[in-house]
């Protein structure tokens, strides 16, 4: 009797496990489906797309769409592919990430190790910058970039992304340095070590992990940005997200879905690569931002 009862619960337990795994796999397939469709579509010929369907595999693998997306697809009036825009994105994303991370590290250091009267209030004021909808700064910023003579330029985009990224990088470093025991720096201060010496000798060696988190977060945010790109740049200067959107919306005769998909993958590849290589830090950035909202 007892045995029968036992096998019954073991049986229902097993059914339960199967249901759990089945659900997880179905969800996994759902999340992978768009990536699968993007990759297969980008490798098909237009004929193949018309005669096949969304999930059919390419009859023969063709890289023509990739070549076209990279070097000759039309976006807006120019037909040079995404190559130039990819280079644009690299050339403003890297400096913007480096500058905003560096300043964020110093800010976090000041806000934890060198607190002064009112520094907590200032931090809160700074944090609010994370929450505003950027629409509310677009019009004045467009004017200001014009006054400064950096409208529609790479330095202009670097400037905008640094200014509005600082709140996040400061938050990351501040929340990390709060966990560093204050005795560590107190002893150094008694020994007469100054502001920069302590930063350089004690704080920076503790920081590689949080630097990676900040760099990945900023890289993903700035590379993926569309709003600032579409408002503050035009034509040849546009970042890749804007060019991708133009490419997809440029209708010259036949709609080339394979080229659209190849272009979308090209635009997504750098951040996807970072995610695959450093997923752990990626998640830490997301949740670190979430702690404070």
């Amino acid at each position: 009797m007892a045995d029968g009862h036992h096998t019954q619960t073991a049986g229902s337990h097993r059914v339960g496990r199967i249901v759990i795994y089945a659900l997880l796999v179905v969800f996994a397939l759902y999340y992978l489906m768009p990536l699968f469709v993007m990759v297969t579509t980008s490798l098909k010929t237009l004929d193949d797309i018309r005669t096949g369907n969304l999930i059919s595999l390419p009859r023969e693998i063709s890289f023509d769409a990739w070549i076209k997306a990279w070097s000759s697809a039309c976006s807006g009036v120019s037909c040079n592919g995404l190559k130039g825009n990819f280079i644009n994105s690299v050339s403003f994303v890297l400096p913007a990430v480096a500058i905003s991370t560096l300043i964020g590290a110093f800010n976090g250091y000041v806000l934890t190790m060198w607190r002064f009267r009112g520094s907590d209030v200032l931090f809160t004021l700074l944090l609010i910058g994370c929450f505003i909808p950027f629409q509310v700064v677009l019009l004045p910023m467009a004017q200001t970039l014009g006054y400064l003579g950096i409208a529609n330029s790479i330095p202009g985009l670097i400037f905008v992304h640094v200014v509005y990224g600082l709140a996040f990088t400061t938050l990351f470093f501040r929340n990390f340095y709060v966990t560093v025991p204050p005795d560590l720096t107190k002893a150094a201060r008694i020994d007469g070590a100054g502001f920069f010496t302590i930063f350089w000798r004690i704080i920076l060696p503790l920081s590689p992990a949080i630097i990676v988190v900040s760099v990945i977060w900023q890289f993903t945010q700035i590379w993926n940005d569309f709003l600032f790109g579409v408002v503050f740049s035009s034509g040849e200067r546009q970042p890749i997200t804007v060019a991708l959107n133009n490419l997809v919306n440029t209708s010259t005769g036949v709609k080339e879905y394979n080229v659209d998909m190849a272009a979308a993958i090209i635009a997504g590849l750098p951040t996807l690569f970072v995610y695959i290589v450093a997923g752990k830090y990626f998640l830490r950035g997301l949740t670190a931002g979430a702690v404070k909202g």
Partner: protein
């Protein structure tokens, strides 16, 4: 140690000057950032606020004209569509993300093999831009060669799924694509929360004979309240700011049926040369964010003080 102290006394005046610099240094370092926030966040909000009270069109003008822009904003049919869409999109997007995210987190918390691998799959869309997501889903959802065509080829000849080109339905496709992208993030937050639940309480409940459903509904899920709050804050923030996804997926169309406040603002401020109207819509967006986030954050911090 003693040496520095002694030399410090010897060079007394210099030391005081050094102290002064040392004291000012943190403020000097923080200064530029604060100045930036003051000008480019707070100053610009005031600037936009001022513009919203003028009759600026192609170029900004600074003579005040009262509430004309707000009046014409709320007489604008397109703005009401955008607001209605925000309610639909926001509600469904947040609801779907919370429910699916929680479900996935609970499923993943059942000592699953290959948990890390599955987690990585659910989360990867978060690394993509909304433009890439929108482009991919636009292709999948297009009735001609996409999903509808696929199901018809499978034998369901009359299957119709053309929301993306149907006014009144296209906003729901934005929900589909948005939820696809953001659910993994909510899942990750919930999973971290689940891992933080005290095992001792669960063990005690098991000893008392509580079923696992009961343990989830009355112990574990209520203890995830803080995670619900932060997810809610982040998701509503994403919803109100949503711009890229609509631009890439539907372009606000058909017509302007899937417009959101963010696309409305962009269209009027930058394409239609209605700077005053654009500024007014941006101010309403800001006020919406404040009206939703401030009570949420207030509730969260209050609970933080008294609850735990």
């Amino acid at each position: 140690m003693t040496e520095t102290g002694a030399s410090g006394k010897l060079v007394h005046p210099q030391r005081r000057f050094g102290d002064y610099i040392e004291n000012a240094l943190p403020k000097v370092v923080l200064g530029p950032t604060l100045l930036c926030a003051l000008i480019f966040v707070y100053g610009f909000i005031l600037w936009t606020g001022w513009l919203s009270f003028t009759d600026s069109r192609l170029l900004p003008r600074y003579e005040l004209a009262g509430f004309v822009q707000y009046v014409s904003l709320f007489q604008n049919e397109r703005w009401w569509t955008a607001l209605g869409n925000l309610a639909i999109f926001g509600g469904l997007f947040i609801g779907v993300c919370l429910v699916t995210g929680l479900l996935l987190a609970i499923l993943l918390d059942q000592r699953i093999r290959a948990e890390g691998f599955l987690r990585a799959i659910y989360l990867y869309p978060m690394a993509l831009s909304f433009i890439v997501t929108g482009t991919a889903w636009r292709w999948i959802l297009n009735p001609g060669l996409g999903l509808q065509n696929l199901v018809r080829q499978l034998g369901f000849e009359s299957f119709t799924f053309d929301w993306i080109v149907t006014p009144g339905m296209s906003i729901y496709t934005v929900v589909i694509a948005g939820a696809w992208q953001s659910t993994g993030f909510v899942m990750a937050l919930f999973l971290a929360g689940l891992r933080g639940v005290d095992d001792a309480i669960i063990k005690a409940a098991q000893v008392d004979g509580a079923s696992s459903t009961r343990i989830y509904t009355s112990i574990i899920i209520p203890s995830l309240r803080p995670v619900f709050f932060s997810s809610l804050i982040i998701l509503s923030h994403i919803a109100i700011k949503s711009f890229d996804l609509v631009m890439a997926l539907t372009g606000g169309g058909p017509g302007f049926s899937s417009d959101l406040p963010a696309t409305f603002m962009y269209t009027f401020a930058f394409n239609r040369n209605q700077i005053g109207l654009g500024a007014a819509s941006a101010m309403i967006m800001l006020m919406t964010v404040v009206a939703i986030l401030v009570p949420l954050m207030y509730a969260e911090t209050r609970r933080g003080h008294h609850g735990r």
